[in-house]
Amino acid sequence: MHDAQTKLRETAKDLLVSAKVDLVLGFQNGSLPLRTRPCFARNAADAGRLVWNRLCTNNLAVYLPRLFEKPANVRGPWTPPKVAVVAKGCDARSIMGLVKEHQVIRENVVIIAMPCQGMISLRKAEAAGASARTSKLDGDDLVAQACLECIQPSVPGANIIIDGPSRSAASDRFQRVKDFEALTAAERWQQFVAQVSKCIRCYACRQACPNCYCKTCFIDQTKPSWAGVGDDPTDLLLFHIGRVFHQAGRCVECDACVRACPVGIDLRLFTQKLVKDVEELFGYVPGTSLEEAPPLSTYRPDDSECFITDP
């Protein structure tokens, strides 16, 4: 892990000093125990602050669409930046998706593939208490559920590979979804309502999601207004169903929405159900290749319709 960090700093420094990139998006130490924070490294000194450990949780792909958008205050021609991204498997899958959706210029992005052993879940660490925390940082005890169920810890589309110990891919990651599917419709509905009723509509799930780059989210539109502003379950459900459904064939299971939610809504259960459906019905896993067209942009006569007729 420490070797990887040293190599990362050297790599980032080289990229910046040789002007191959304008910016390295990575992680630096945060202001709290067990927290790192996104680092926008622009020179050699910044590169020296980069860290790599099991606390590098954020999905940095979220910052890319806005970096490739021409700033409102720039008149005349504008050259999009060259950006290197310190990427875990999930982050790189997000980048692949954003390239396919024309939000990111592939040629302008250098993907620095990091060895990922799974990231620590702050919630699990808090529940474990301070003493358990320090002794368990190396094992799998405090690793986020999404990481335990990760099918592709390796980094797709890597431009630079930094070696190190990484976890192997999980085999069956859908057990919880299967348990959920086995419930009656009424029970599933109850569980869904109980979760979204906690929502305070801070939209942290949306803002932390690399896929949520819409200039104006449907929930913020006023003409027409799609949902009320209050805490009526109908309105809360509309936001969450709307947001999750917009992730069909796009969600790479990075867990950013779950981590960002301050009230602990179990969003992963719903995104994972969608991931499972897309995988089983359309044989598509988002973010794994640049060539394969996303299921929502293609049509085959034999496409499954069971999700319409047999929900």
């Binding site: 945060g30 202001s31 709290l32 125990p33 927290r35 790192t36 924070r37 996104p38 926008f40 954020n58 979220v62 910052y63 409102a72 906690k198 305070i200 509509r201 801070c202 939209y203 942290a204 949306r206 803002q207 932390a208 104006t216 913020d220 207004s225 009320g228 502003v229 209050g230 805490d231 950013a256 981590r259 960002a260 301050p262 009230v263 602990g264």
Partner: protein, 335 residues
Amino acid sequence: MTLGAIKKEHLGQLVAAVGAHGGFYGPVLRDNDVCLDQVQPSDTLVLDYANFTLPPKGLFFPRSEVIATHGADGMVETPLPTGKAVLFGVRPCDAMSLTYLDKVFMEAQFADPYYRARRERTLTIALACRDPAATCFCTSVAGSPSGQGGADILAVDIGDALVLESATPAGEAFLAEYRKLLGRPSDNQVKARDAQVAQAVRKVSSIGSDGVTARLQASSESAAWEELAERCLGCGVCTFLCPTCHCFGLYDEEVGPQGRRVRAQDACVFPAFTLEASGHNPRTRQGLRMRHRVMHKFCYTAQSFGDIFCVGCGRCIVNCPANMDIRETLTEVPP
């Protein structure tokens, strides 16, 4: 000033006695999380928490509320809440936040009838902090882990009992009314309380925010705001979890043949907050929005109300998904 004391094991009796005359709101477990809620007979009060995820402002200024309905009969305003309520267990920082919200919703030019009714029907018992969190900085913003501001009574946990002290006439009357349950503390209990108060304040770190209002004012054109905001995701976690953020919007919604007027909390960190009908938005960038939020708390309210509207609870620090840290913003933004 009147004193009282109650053994922890007798708290349930107090909840029942008060509950017979109105609502008792206190720290209870909901979904494995300690939060403020109306205490049910099946609940046990929890006393060992740093603070609640959600601030108490929602009890007085809910995230959303229907303030009127309209239909064939015209507009019908929602009746004001009535009945007595006791709010137990808010931390002193959060109790302090209520005095700031009072300035906005009760003491400014236009009083808010719903906020006022909820505040006036509620007696607040703050619970002093034993173990302030590493992110607490109340002593840097005019607070204290055993501050009485905003509370009618301050309770101090001395291990097996709570020692209570009234801070307002309403608090004094409450101690008198429940004197049977709230006996007088022994000299030893008072000594234990004083020791507890003294140790807690030592645990709160200072952030060196002296002169912050003037410093921030001079920084309004600083490039540091855009640099800071580069990392910000633009969500509303800091705003909605802040005990003093109080912006709201009014919305008319259709519900079948009826309509309703909803007041809902809003956040200045969202672009739509300043979007004008013309389509123009004066705060186009996250840096401008972040600057506004910080300036509002540490400059504008200091000018218009005489107080910095931050109580040092640390919620915005703990919960920010990008680890933005207001302590750094306050000390590092250069003029």
